[in-house]
C-alpha cells in the first residue's frame, strides 16, 4: 500500500471530468444582461478535474485506508458499533423513498407518512413513552429537542427553572446541550459503586431544577438500580427526568425508561437500531415524551385520522421547528426495517446477547486488566490500564497496539471519572470466536507491557499511518487545499 494517497487536487488535470452532463436542450440566454455583473462569478471555483476511472480509483484507495464495522471488530464503548444489515441499505434506496420531495402533497406520500407514523408508535412502545418525534437528526439534536420541551413545559406552568443536573459520568453532549439550551449544568458525583450518589443528588435538586439527564445503564455499563428513588427526588423537586438513550441497547424488551420514571427519552437509531454511523452521521435521534409533554413536540407531527396520514402543524404550544423538514427520513427507513426484521423477541435477544458479550469480555479480561467495579456489567464494561501503567503503558498505547492486531480499539479516557479507562462495548453481533480473538490480543498486550513496553509505545506498526502529530495540526491549522 502506498504511504500517501495524493489528494484529488493533486491528480487533477485540465479538461478531465467524470460526468457526461450533456449540453442542455433549451435556447441560450444572455447571462450578462439578466444578472448584474458584480454578482456573477469572476473566477471559476478550482474544483479537481478527474476522469471517471480516476475518481473511482481515488475514492476506492481512500476506502482501503479506512476501517469500518465490516472490516472488523469495533468495540467502541458507548457508540454501539453493531453490524449494519445490508437489506436496510437496499430498502432505503427504493425510489418510492429516495425520489420523494419533502414538500409534495402529503396525499402523494402516504407510504412515507405511514412509515413515519408507525415508527413513532414502535419507538414509543420500546421506550415506554406516549409519543415520539422523529425529527432530531442525531443524539445531541435529540437532547436539544428534549431539553427545549422540558423548558417549554416548565414555562407553561409559569416556572423558571434554570439548572440541569448531570452526573460526572455523563456524555459530553449532556452539559453542552444544557448550555446551548440556556441552562446551567450542576454536576453530581458518582458514589464508589459507580452509581449516582443519592445524597449528592438530594443536595443538588431544588426549586431551580429543570431536569436530570441520565443514561441508564450509565456510561460505566452499570444499571442505576436506585432509579425509582432518583426519579422521586427529581419529581419531588418539580424537575423532570431526561433519558439519554445512548445505552438503550442493553435493555430492549427487558425494561423501559418510561416505566423507570423518565419523562423524556432520546434514542439513537444509529446505535441501537443498527443504522450505519456513516463515519460520523447521518444519524437520527428521535425523542419520546410522556403525555403532559406532548403539546410541546416540534412541528410538524405525523398524524393519522383513521383514513389518511398527514402532517400536523396546528400545535400552538410546540417548541417550533428543529429540522428543515421531518428529520433524517432515509435513516428512519433503515431503523424501521431493523425493528420489523427483529420483532419483539428479536430485540430482546439483541439486548441479552449484547449484555452477555460484554460480561464475557469483562470476565475474561479482569485478571489482566484492572476492573474498577465489582460484579457484572450490562452492555459495556470499563477496564483500566492501571496494571500496565507501571511499565509506562497507558490506555492510549494499548489502543494503538490493538490496531496492529486488526481491531478498532475501545473508547479510551471515558468516562472521565475512571483513570486510564478502556471502555469496551462488543455489541450482540459479534461471535464468541471474534471475542476470543480480541481477548487473546488484549492479553498478549498486557503481557507485552511487562516484556517489551517499547513495542507498545511505538505502536501502531502495521497501519498505513503512524501516530499523528495532533498538536502541530491544532497549532497551525491547515484545513483546506490551496493551489
Amino acid at each position: 500500500m502506498k504511504e500517501n494517497q495524493p489528494t484529488i487536487f493533486e491528480i487533477s488535470k485540465p479538461g478531465r471530468f467524470a460526468l457526461d452532463l450533456g449540453k442542455g436542450d433549451v435556447p441560450a440566454c444572455d447571462l450578462e444582461t439578466l444578472v448584474p455583473a458584480h454578482l456573477l462569478r469572476a473566477k471559476p471555483a478550482e474544483l479537481p478535474e478527474v476522469s471517471q476511472p480516476d475518481l473511482m480509483r481515488h475514492y476506492t484507495a481512500l476506502s482501503t485506508r479506512n476501517f469500518g464495522v465490516d472490516s472488523g471488530f469495533y468495540p467502541l464503548g458507548s457508540c454501539t458499533m453493531k453490524y449494519n444489515p445490508k437489506v436496510n441499505e437496499d430498502v432505503c434506496r427504493y425510489p418510492g423513498f429516495t425520489d420523494l420531495h419533502p414538500l409534495q402533497d402529503p396525499e402523494s406520500a402516504q407510504g412515507a407518512l405511514e412509515l413515519l407514523y408507525n415508527m413513532a408508535q414502535h419507538l414509543a412502545e420500546l421506550a415506554g413513552m406516549d409519543a415520539v418525534t422523529l425529527q432530531p437528526a442525531a443524539g445531541a439534536h435529540g437532547e436539544l429537542t428534549g431539553l427545549k420541551i422540558i423548558k417549554a413545559y416548565h414555562r407553561s406552568r409559569g416556572e423558571t427553572r434554570t439548572k440541569v443536573i448531570v452526573p460526572d459520568s455523563a456524555h459530553g453532549t449532556n452539559p453542552a446541550t444544557a448550555t446551548v439550551c440556556g441552562l446551567e449544568t450542576v454536576g453530581v458525583k458518582s458514589a464508589g459503586d459507580g452509581l449516582v450518589c443519592l445524597e449528592a443528588l438530594k443536595a443538588a435538586a431544588g426549586p431551580d431544577t429543570a431536569a436530570l439527564m441520565l443514561t441508564n445503564p450509565n456510561t460505566l455499563g452499570l444499571f442505576e438500580k436506585n432509579i425509582r428513588e432518583i426519579a422521586e427526588i427529581i419529581h419531588d423537586a418539580g424537575g423532570l427526568l431526561y433519558y439519554d438513550g445512548a445505552n438503550m441497547n442493553a435493555i430492549m424488551g427487558l425494561a423501559r425508561p418510561g416505566d423507570m420514571g423518565f419523562d423524556v427519552v432520546h434514542l439513537n437509531l444509529h446505535k441501537t437500531f443498527a443504522t450505519p454511523h456513516g463515519g460520523g452521521g447521518p444519524g437520527s435521534g428521535p425523542v419520546g415524551v410522556k403525555k403532559p409533554l406532548i403539546p410541546f413536540l416540534p412541528v410538524p407531527v405525523p398524524s393519522f385520522d383513521g383514513q389518511k396520514y398527514g402532517l400536523d402543524y396546528d400545535r400552538p404550544s410546540s417548541i417550533g421547528r428543529i429540522h428543515s423538514f421531518y428529520g433524517n427520513f432515509g435513516v428512519i427507513v433503515r431503523a424501521y426495517a431493523y425493528i420489523r426484521a427483529m420483532g419483539p423477541e428479536g430485540l430482546r435477544q439483541v439486548s441479552e446477547d449484547a449484555v452477555l458479550n460484554a460480561n464475557y469480555c469483562l470476565s475474561r479480561l479482569r485478571e489482566d486488566y484492572h476492573a474498577p467495579f465489582a460484579g457484572n456489567c450490562l452492555h459495556e464494561c470499563v477496564l483500566t490500564a492501571r496494571n500496565q501503567k507501571p511499565f509506562g503503558v497507558k490506555a492510549l498505547d494499548i489502543a494503538k497496539r490493538l490496531l496492529d492486531y486488526g481491531y478498532h480499539p475501545p473508547t479510551i479516557y471515558f468516562p472521565l471519572i475512571v483513570e486510564e479507562a478502556l471502555m469496551i462495548e462488543p455489541t450482540e453481533t459479534e461471535s464468541k470466536e471474534t471475542l476470543d480473538g480480541f481477548i487473546r490480543a488484549m492479553r498478549e498486550i498486557a503481557a507485552e507491557a511487562g516484556t517489551d513496553a517499547a513495542r507498545i509505545l511505538s505502536a501502531p506498526h502495521s497501519t498505513v499511518a503512524g501516530r499523528l502529530d495532533e498538536t502541530a495540526a491544532a497549532r497551525k491549522p491547515v484545513v483546506r487545499w490551496k493551489p
Binding site: L31, L47, E125, E143, T185, L254, G346, L356, D469
Partner: protein
C-alpha cells in the same frame, strides 16, 4: 427463533455464561429491579423474514408518487438535480459507511482525507478560508451560524431576511428562544430584501445579518451591498446560499460574507423526503476557531508522512462540555462525502455547467409560463433557478390537476407569505428537459 444478525447458538451462550459464572442470562440483569422488568413483552409486530421485509417496504414505497414518474418543478429548499452514478458506488464502500467518527486517525486516513478534500471544495466554491465537516441540514446550519456570530461578537440580535427560507428562520427562533437571543425580520419588496428597511433594523446590538441568496423566491440578492451595510454597524454577514448557484454567481467570500452556510442536498444527495441532507458551514480564518462541528486538519505522522486528524477539538462538546459553543457530535459525514464525490465528478467545468443549464432552463420556463394569459410574473429582479408566478386560481388546485398528468407543480407561496396568495414558486433544474418544460406550459395554459 434465530436471527441472521445474531451469531450465537445456544451452545455458545451456555459456554459464555459458564465462563462468566452465571447460571442464566437472567442473572446478568440482576441489577434491574424486579418491579421494573418488562414482563408482558413488547407490543410490536412479529419479526419478518428478509423476503417478507422487502415486500413490506416495497409496498410502502410504492404507495408514494415518486419523481421517476413525475416531472418535478418543486424546489423551495430541496432540489431535483441529477445525481451521478459514481456517488452511490463510492458511499456503498462499507469502509466508509460502516465507520464511526475518526477518533483513531491511523485507521481512518481515508475518511479524514475525503473530509479534508470536502472542506477544501466547500471553501473553494464559497470563497472562504475554512469549512467544517458538516452540520445536520441547511436550516440548522443557519441556526448554528447565527449562534456562532453571537458567541464571537458577544451580541444578542440577529437580523434575518423575510425573503430567506421560512423554515430556516423558524429553526433559528426555536434555537434562539432559550438562549435569549433576539430575532428581527428584515422585510422584502419586489422579491428582494429591502435595504432601507434592513439598515433600520441593524444597531449596535446586532451580531449578524443573515441573508439568503438566491433567496426563497429564487431572486439574487446584492450580497455585496448588504455586506457593506452590515459591516458598517459592526455586524457579521451570514450568507445562506444554494451551493449549485455558485457555479455562476460570485462566491460570497468575495462579496464580503463572514460566514457562509447552506443546504448541500443539491450536491448529489437524494431528496429522500427531507433527509438526510447536508448542512455546510464555512468561515473566514478569523472565525475558524469558533466554528461548530468537526474539522479535519493536515499534519504529519511519526514516519514523516502527510496525514490527517480531527483538529481544534478543544472547541467541541466532548472536551469542553458545558463551555462548548455547540453541542453537535454526530453530523452528516456520509452526506459530506457524497457532496465531495459530486463536486469531483463535475469538476471545474461541470460545476459551472450545472448552474448554467439550471439558469437557462429556468429562464426558458419563465418566458414560456409568463407568456400564458393569466400567468403573471410576481417579481422583476434577477433570479437563478426559481421564480414566482401569480395565477388566477389557488396553486393547490392547479397542482392537483398537474399531478394527474404526471407533473409535480411548484410551491404555494400563500402559506408562509400573506399577500402572495395564488402565487406559485416554480423550480427548474438542469434535469428538466425542454419537452418537460413545454408540457408544463401547455398543461398550465389549458388550465388557466
Amino acid at each position: 427463533m434465530a436471527w441472521s444478525y445474531l451469531p450465537h447458538n445456544e451452545a455458545d451462550r451456555r459456554a459464555m455464561l459458564d465462563a462468566i459464572g452465571a447460571a442464566s442470562a437472567e442473572q446478568l440483569f440482576a441489577d434491574v429491579p424486579a418491579d421494573l422488568r418488562l414482563t408482558g413483552g413488547l407490543n410490536l409486530p412479529p419479526a419478518l423474514s428478509e423476503p417478507e421485509l422487502t415486500n413490506h417496504l416495497g409496498a410502502l414505497a410504492k404507495i408514494n408518487a415518486d419523481l421517476r414518474n413525475m416531472s418535478c418543478f418543486l424546489g423551495a429548499g430541496a432540489y431535483d438535480h441529477y445525481i451521478p452514478s459514481v456517488i452511490d458506488h463510492v458511499i456503498r464502500r462499507s469502509e466508509f459507511y460502516t465507520a464511526y467518527t475518526q477518533y483513531q486517525p491511523e485507521i481512518s486516513q481515508g475518511y479524514l482525507q475525503a473530509l479534508w478534500e470536502y472542506q477544501s471544495m466547500i471553501c473553494e466554491i464559497t470563497g472562504m478560508e475554512a469549512a467544517n465537516a458538516s452540520l445536520y441540514d441547511g436550516g440548522t446550519a443557519v441556526a448554528e451560524a447565527a449562534m456562532l456570530a453571537c458567541a464571537a461578537s458577544g451580541k444578542k440580535t440577529v437580523v434575518m431576511a423575510q425573503a430567506g427560507h421560512p423554515h430556516y428562520r423558524e429553526i433559528f427562533q426555536t434555537y434562539a428562544r432559550d438562549k435569549d437571543l433576539e430575532f428581527r425580520l428584515a422585510p422584502y419588496g419586489d422579491g428582494l430584501t429591502d435595504l432601507t428597511g434592513l439598515r433600520e433594523l441593524i444597531d449596535d446590538s446586532t451580531a449578524a445579518v443573515a441573508i439568503q441568496s438566491p433567496n426563497f423566491f429564487g431572486c439574487i440578492e446584492d450580497l455585496k451591498g448588504i455586506a457593506e451595510i452590515a459591516h458598517a454597524r459592526g455586524a457579521y454577514l451570514i450568507a445562506v446560499v444554494d451551493p449549485v448557484s455558485l457555479g455562476l454567481l460570485e462566491a460570497p467570500g468575495a462579496l464580503g460574507a463572514d460566514i457562509v452556510v447552506g443546504e448541500g442536498q443539491g450536491l448529489g444527495i437524494p431528496l429522500s423526503f427531507g433527509g438526510p441532507y447536508l448542512g455546510f458551514l464555512a468561515t473566514t480564518e478569523k472565525l475558524m476557531r469558533k466554528m461548530p462541528g468537526r474539522i479535519v486538519g493536515q499534519t504529519t505522522d511519526n514516519r514523516g508522512n502527510r496525514g490527517f486528524v480531527l483538529t481544534l477539538q478543544a472547541r467541541e462538546q466532548h472536551i469542553r462540555r458545558d463551555k462548548a459553543t455547540s453541542n453537535i457530535c454526530s453530523n452528516e459525514a456520509l452526506c459530506a462525502l457524497m457532496a465531495a464525490v459530486y463536486l469531483s465528478a463535475l469538476g471545474r467545468e461541470g460545476f459551472r455547467e450545472v448552474a448554467a443549464q439550471s439558469f437557462r432552463k429556468a429562464h426558458y420556463a419563465y418566458r414560456a409560463l409568463t407568456s400564458l394569459p393569466g400567468c403573471e410574473p410576481v417579481f422583476s429582479g434577477p433570479f437563478f433557478k426559481e421564480f414566482a408566478v401569480r395565477l388566477p386560481s389557488p396553486p393547490a388546485e392547479i397542482n392537483k390537476k398537474l399531478r394527474r398528468v404526471g407533473i409535480l407543480g411548484g410551491f404555494d407561496l400563500g402559506g408562509p407569505y400573506p399577500g402572495l396568495e395564488n402565487c406559485m414558486l416554480i423550480c427548474v433544474t438542469e434535469k428538466r428537459t425542454k419537452g418537460e418544460i413545454d408540457r408544463l406550459a401547455s398543461e398550465m395554459g389549458a388550465m388557466l
